[in-house]
């Protein structure tokens, strides 16, 4: 777990970088058995086509560049690609957009990912406090976090009861518990993820400064959750 995550982190540090791109961040999460989609980094268009076939259409392309952390601002994500023709077109498009956004952008490859079915969006994050050290954050994604700032924190490491208390303490809890006839979300999966994040950060506290798993899609009870996008900032 730790060794595999450290290998990725050391590799990024050796290149003089402090921020992991999504692909690298997800590799670190994967090392701690956090649920990430079945996705692959393609270096060439041919590789991308091959991976897309493996994963099955529709797919998503996300261009990975250490210089571009705000992928949607730079328009380097292409969603819901249904076939090879479209993939070829989008491949060109996101590369052009990257060049326009940051002419000096180094391109590590393109992440080929399955088009995920939408779930309820949550955010799990980590920050470091000068007095208390690392803290984990939980909240609902989208407007809940952006506008209402409906989030809650606990100091790492957390216990299972802390994770449950976090989920239940946000104002938007009824949305997860199942409001307006919706079935409840898989909160057990969220608790499991929070505990894994806590363990990961506790193990790697000398390296990690901040972290966002945003968004995480959580599905109905028993159907799990998945990290859609992730960012890790090193010290």
């Amino acid at each position: 777990m730790k060794d595999e995550a450290l290998r990725i982190i050391e590799d990024v540090l050796s290149k003089g970088r402090k921020a992991l791109v999504e692909y690298e961040a997800k590799q670190v999460l994967k090392a701690y058995e956090l649920p990430v989609p079945n996705e692959k980094l393609a270096k060439t268009l041919d590789e991308a086509l091959e991976y897309a076939k493996e994963i099955g259409y529709p797919v998503v392309l996300k261009l990975m560049s250490p210089q571009i952390l705000h992928k949607s601002d730079a328009k380097i994500i292409a969603l819901n690609i249904k076939n090879e023709e479209e993939l070829k077109k989008k491949w060109e498009e996101i590369h052009e957009n990257a060049k326009k956004y940051r002419p000096d952008a180094e391109i590590l490859g393109v992440l080929v990912a399955p088009m995920l079915k939408p779930g309820r969006e949550v955010i799990i994050g980590v920050t470091e406090d000068p007095q208390f050290g690392h803290a984990i954050m939980f909240g609902l994604g989208g407007i809940f976090v952006e506008i209402l700032k409906d989030v809650t924190f606990r100091i790492i490491p957390i216990e299972e009861k802390d994770a449950w208390a976090m989920i239940k303490s946000i104002k938007g809890y009824p949305i997860l518990a199942g409001a307006r006839g919706e079935p409840p979300a898989d909160m057990k999966a969220l608790v499991d993820m929070m505990l894994k994040v806590s363990k990961l950060v506790d193990d790697l506290k000398d390296y990690i400064k901040e972290m966002d798993l945003n968004p995480v899609f959580v599905y109905n009870e028993g159907e799990g959750a998945v990290v859609v996008d992730a960012r890790i900032i090193l010290k």
Binding site: D129, Q131, V151, F153, R154, I155, N214
Partner: protein, 454 residues
Amino acid sequence: MTFDYFFKPKAIAVIGASNDPLKLGYEVFKNLKKYKDGKVYPVNVKDEVVQGVKAYKNVKDIPDEVDLAVIVVPKKFVKQTVIDCGEKGVKGIVLITAGFGETGEEGKREERELVEIAHKYGMRIIGPNCVGIMNTHNDMNATFIMDAKKGDIAFVSQSGALGAGIVYKTVKEGIGFSKFISIGNMADVDFSELMEYLADDPESKAIALYIEGIKDGRKFMEAAKKVTKKKPVIVLKAGKSESGARAASSHTGSLAGSYKIYEAAFKQTGILVANTIDEMLSMARAFTQPLPKGNKVAIMTNAGGPGVLTADEIDRHGLKLANLKEETMQKLREFLPPMAAVKNPVDMIASARGEEYYKTAKLLLEDENVDMLIAICVVPTFAGMTPTEHAEGVIRAVKEVNNGKPVLALFMAGYVSEPAKELLEKEGIPVYERPEDVGIAAYALWEIARRKNK
């Protein structure tokens, strides 16, 4: 026990004790002259006698062993005084003198040096830049402010002046402290260590902390985890408004203001968080009562308004109004007037006298659907009622039933309630003046009970 030399010293030296009422050393020695459990020696470089007591030029001249030294000398003499204390074999120092860490880097360095010297001699320091410490249970007032009322709450304040203000406020409101500790700059002894000492202090039923900032968050959390298993800790933290605009590259970092992190640490360690001074005191006072078995509250009142307002507060804090048993309501109907409401909240209406308070409180406490009782009274000044008969009725019922259910009182008649309040407080029944105060007190009892049951 550790720190007994601070709170139960056999002998105290007041270094800088003075005959000049304009000096802090005058007040400190005057206050300590009342100390019951040991001797108090004034130390003054010039005067032979201080406030009628033989004084010594140096702490080392005192013929007796000295546990505790209260230092109120000018800053330039502090270092030598600390060394003298070390050579004398003093164990604890309360350093009132200011001008250290609070003034900047040089002051911080001097402060660290003092702590190093103290540790070399095996001494511990509370302060510097503090008001001092009190133990009301042995009349030890080692501060330059007036006495706190004797009681059950240990109060630790990081602000000396606010601490003094709260001491005076609580005296006026009849709220008692077991200990008052102004910890000043926390150069040595900090919240964590004091909390651990107070956790085992039989004179303190709850610990209230006013916090501005903690240096070592992890140490605080470890101490708090242990302490909250033994007794309730209530924190009022200043600095909520500090924005989350911390330089951060992540979303999470930008959302994490320092208060949010403090709050997280408090919640995680079982600390009750107060938003105001009154909330802190209201919660801390509740713990003279036993913990409830559940969250079902019965309210009895002689006025509708206060009953409804209290019911609102109960609901806001996640407690429930108890569904009274049919049998209880039946019995209430037998002696209450027809206009009375026998459903919870039980409104006995304004004609209720001490006897009705007694009977109602008894029935409600005996009802197995009730976990906690709130007795409300707007003390009537008419129909020949005495100002204390309602309180007396409640007390009689509590003593008779004596089944371990907590009882809180809300007496909302300003100065008219005073005699009744005094009576209830003497019996250890906390009395509040506002629905929001009794509401949060009920919440605090239930919250601690709930955590214990887990």
